[in-house]
């Protein structure tokens, strides 16, 4: 067991907590709309192969790079907070298995659906893409709500509660909120990236799903701040911050609705993206210091200090992040610029590839 040598976290530990949060923000911002788009294939694509292909191709060139944000969040947690990685991944074993199954199914689906000229084959992969996107959205929503609530750890630093205890009412609100927010984020993304009928119908969908998302976001904000207030957090009394960020997230989804109605696709997309960002900030403010764990034995806590790597490792990783994160952001942004053109059914070539 690690001995606690200092009373408050070092600057490096704080930096890495923030960086892990940034990686999750990047992941949910980018894959959030990917999940939404894939879930909408059967809905907005109807039974029209060309429409379905337009929808898939809005994310075709970039979804894989977006997914790497999750891998980097996982890897960075492993490197900077091995204790957090070890307890989280072993403790949330079955939920993470479901996330993996989802990611496997959807990744293969995009690449393989067009590889046979057979409608049943394509429909099958559209279904697995949608289900494979629903699973991680739902499970990670449930998971992060549980971190907000706090997961109990024993003196062995392992998770001390079982699989079924994860399905509490607050967590289910979190799961539904993630799914609904990503559907809205995805719908406004499709609107931003398409022309014609699909554009109009995705806007109509976003107008409806934004209303549902506002309601869920309000419930989540109130439930969180009243039942699991950040003032309970011994590391940082962030209750003012969590009230503000969670309510601003409600406003952001409302703004997305308003911009969508005003036919301002770009602004609507920024608004749903801002809502995602505010929600993740809200969650990580609550998790600051505790990492979302509640030690049953206060003498053996798993937290930002006991879970962290040594100063040398954190320093090396900080240098690597300072150099490479801007480079990654630059070329990912460039790839979005390359594929900036809006698509319509006119752009879809004949035949399978």
């Amino acid at each position: 067991m690690l001995t606690v040598l200092q009373a408050s976290p070092s600057a490096l530990q704080i930096v890495w907590f923030l960086l892990v949060a940034v990686l999750w923000i990047g992941y949910f911002f980018l894959e959030g709309f990917d999940y939404g788009v894939a879930m909408l294939i059967p809905v907005l694509g109807r039974d029209d192969e060309r429409r379905r292909r337009v929808i898939i191709n809005t994310i075709g060139p970039t979804w894989d790079g977006n997914e790497v944000w999750l891998l980097t969040a996982g890897g960075a947690t492993f490197a900077a907070f091995p204790g957090w990685y070890a307890t989280m991944f072993s403790g949330l074993y079955l939920p993470l298995f479901l996330v993996l199954v989802g990611l496997i199914l959807r990744g293969v689906s995009f690449e393989y659906r067009a590889k046979r000229d057979d409608l049943r084959w394509k429909r099958m992969f559209d279904t697995t893409a949608a289900v494979g996107s629903l699973l991680p959205a739902l499970v990670l929503g449930i998971g992060f709500a549980n971190f907000v609530k706090g997961l109990r750890t024993g003196p062995d630093l392992l998770l001390a509660q079982g699989f079924w205890s994860l399905f509490n009412p607050f967590a289910l609100v979190g799961g539904l909120l993630f799914v609904s927010l990503f559907l809205t984020h995805g719908a406004v993304f499709i609107a931003l990236k398409t022309r014609g009928e699909i554009h109009d119908e995705s806007r109509a969908f976003a107008l409806k799903s934004a209303v549902v998302t506002v309601v869920l976001m309000v419930v989540f904000a109130l439930y969180q701040n009243l039942a699991y207030p950040a003032s309970d957090n011994p590391w940082f009394n962030g209750s003012a911050v969590t009230w503000i960020t969670s309510l601003l997230a409600v406003v952001a989804v409302g703004a997305a609705w308003w911009f969508t109605r005003a036919d301002r696709d770009g602004w609507a997309f920024l608004a749903t993206g801002l809502a995602v960002l505010l929600l993740v900030v809200d969650i990580f403010v609550k998790m600051y210091g505790t990492l979302g764990f509640l030690p049953t034995d206060p003498a053996h806590p798993l937290d930002i200090m006991t879970a962290s790597s040594s100063p040398l490792t954190l320093k090396l990783m900080t240098i690597a992040a300072a150099v490479f994160v801007p480079i990654v952001l630059a070329y990912q942004a460039w790839s979005y610029w390359v594929f900036r053109k809006r698509l319509s059914t006119a752009n879809i070539p004949e035949g399978a590839h």
Partner: protein, 506 residues
């Protein structure tokens, strides 16, 4: 079965499966980049066809590599939480850097390559496949640095109840890493070369036969004489190119493997002894081609041997001493875990006090270590022989005779280096046992205590089923696109027309 055994099996199944796709991704991305370079420089459309043909096979394979790789990143924490907790300060960094530096590069530029034909200028588009390929190389750098550290834990010390990093540079100058990196990369090029050579030779042979019969049909229409000549010329080029890549890569694979053997003898003497089923120390040591030992693995019953060869492989000296299993066990009882010359890494030295209290059965599974080592080499050599055969059969514009043996040799060719790599990894990982970190952490102490046999068993069964189904789908697509042969191509041009059809769309 208890949870630990299941976790071991799960790691074995998911990792071996993942590594079917990795060598092809590493090797074929570069070979496709070379084909596209020739097209860009010479403007010969046949090379564009070749690029698109192998590009398609590459992408079908790439998708599987990506999705099965995510499982790898997660399962250290899921099934091996106490390993992760103990080594994360050292082992986590290369994994994080792999995602940050390699995966982003690879995935972003693959997307640009697939969809960018009509979006990017020709040369910039060519650069994207190189960048993606460099991404795969960087990925292997980090993952092999991490794995090599498990074989020889340098640059770390035991502090605060765990392994802590003292020098990241030591991880990158670890002799195990410096020899494993070229070995794995070159073996990947062998695999990709074998794939290109095998596929092209099969087409060349079939088409030559059809040409002799006077009727070449593809996708329902009869090809003109010009089309046939173009296809034959292209397949012939691909067959020779692939065979040369395989042969050249294999020379370096053998050379780096030889260096690896010497490093292994030094840092993991037990692994070398197990690989040779060498029970008692020999000087000079002979290389056994075939050995049968007792069931409990303590004694040899029968063997066929070549004198001096093992001494040379292990030490570089034909009269060098190679320690036997029994002597290494005695030495462990007296001095704890040491390298061949009695040295220890800092982590091994500082952890020895804790390790003393852990019961450890020192020998890996000897038949597995012995046979996987030999099967690895045997498959690699067989691949080289077939590649050589292709070059001889095609020399000076000759047409190969379509015998059954020829056909099966070409079908087998891509799989020989591929399976050699699988056996090599099984040897590397199972030969390291009982350690998860050599000389430091016994594997049984590393498993997740909070994951029961039911959970681990359930996910193992489901992963295996899912992977099985995906294997059928993947292999079916590879066969389909292999059989379709070289595609008809039109060069994609950058267009401003907003209704222009995309050059590529899912």
């Amino acid at each position: 079965m208890d949870a630990e055994i299941i976790a071991r099996w799960q790691f074995g199944i998911t990792t071996v499966y993942h590594f079917f796709f990795v060598p092809i991704t590493i090797g074929l991305s570069m070979l496709v980049a070379v084909m596209q370079t020739i097209w860009v420089r010479q403007g010969d459309e046949q090379f564009l066809r070749l690029t698109k043909f192998f590009g398609k096979l590459f992408l079908i394979n790439f998708a599987m590599g990506v999705v099965t790789g995510i499982v790898q990143e997660f399962q250290f924490g899921m099934n091996w939480s106490e390993y992760s907790r103990f080594v994360g300060d050292v082992f986590g960094a290369p994994l994080a850097l792999e995602a940050l530096i390699a995966f982003f590069l690879e995935s972003t530029f693959i997307g640009l390559w697939i969809f960018g034909w009509d979006k990017l200028p020709k040369k910039l588009h060519l650069a994207t496949i190189y960048l993606a390929s460099i991404g795969t190389l960087l990925s292997s750098v980090f993952i092999l640095a991490a794995n090599s550290w498990m074989q020889n834990p340098v640059g770390a010390t035991y502090r605060n109840g765990r392994a802590e990093l003292t020098s990241f540079g030591a991880l990158l100058t670890n002799p195990v890493f410096l020899t494993a990196l070229p070995h794995v990369l070159l073996a990947s090029y062998m695999t990709a070369g074998g794939l290109v050579a095998g596929v092209c030779t099969l087409h060349l042979t079939r088409m030559s036969k059809e040409q002799a019969a006077g009727n070449v049909v593809r996708n329902g229409h009869t090809l003109t004489a010009d089309e046939v000549a173009g296809d034959l010329r292209t397949y012939r080029w691909g067959a020779k190119f692939g065979a040369w890549v395989l042969l050249v890569a294999s020379v370096f694979t053998i050379a780096s493997g030889d260096l690896q053997g010497k490093v292994m003898t030094q840092v993991q003497p037990m692994k070398m002894a197990a690989a040779e089923a060498l029970y008692t120390t020999e000087q000079p040591a002979s290389f056994s081609i075939f050995t049968i030992g007792t069931l409990d693995g303590s004694r040899e019953l029968f063997s066929i041997r070549i004198p001096h060869v093992l001494s040379f492989l292990a030490t570089g000296n034909i009269n060098g001493q190679v320690k036997g299993i029994n002597q290494i066990e005695q030495s462990y009882a007296a001095n704890g875990f040491t390298q061949d010359n009695g040295a220890q890494t800092d982590l091994q030295k500082t952890y020895a006090g804790v390790l003393k209290n852990e019961p450890v059965k020192l020998t890996p599974n000897i038949p597995v270590a012995y046979w996987t080592f030999r099967i690895m080499m045997g498959l690699g050599f067989l691949g080289m022989i077939i590649a050589l055969w292709i070059l001889v059969a095609l020399r000076g514009g000759r047409t190969p005779r379509p015998t059954r043996l020829w056909r099966w040799a070409n079908i087998a060719l891509p799989f020989l280096p591929l399976f050699a790599i699988s056996f090599g990894w099984v040897f590397t990982e199972m030969g390291r046992q009982p350690w998860i970190v050599a000389g430091v952490l016994p594997t049984y102490t590393a498993v997740s205590p909070s994951v029961g046999a039911f959970q681990a068993g359930l996910t193992m069964v489901l992963f295996t089923l899912l992977y099985g189904v995906l294997a059928v789908v993947e292999f079916g697509l590879i066969i389909k696109y292999h059989k379709a042969g070289l595609p008809d191509v039109t060069e994609a041009l950058v267009s401003d027309d907003e209704d222009a059809p995309l050059s590529f769309a899912y």
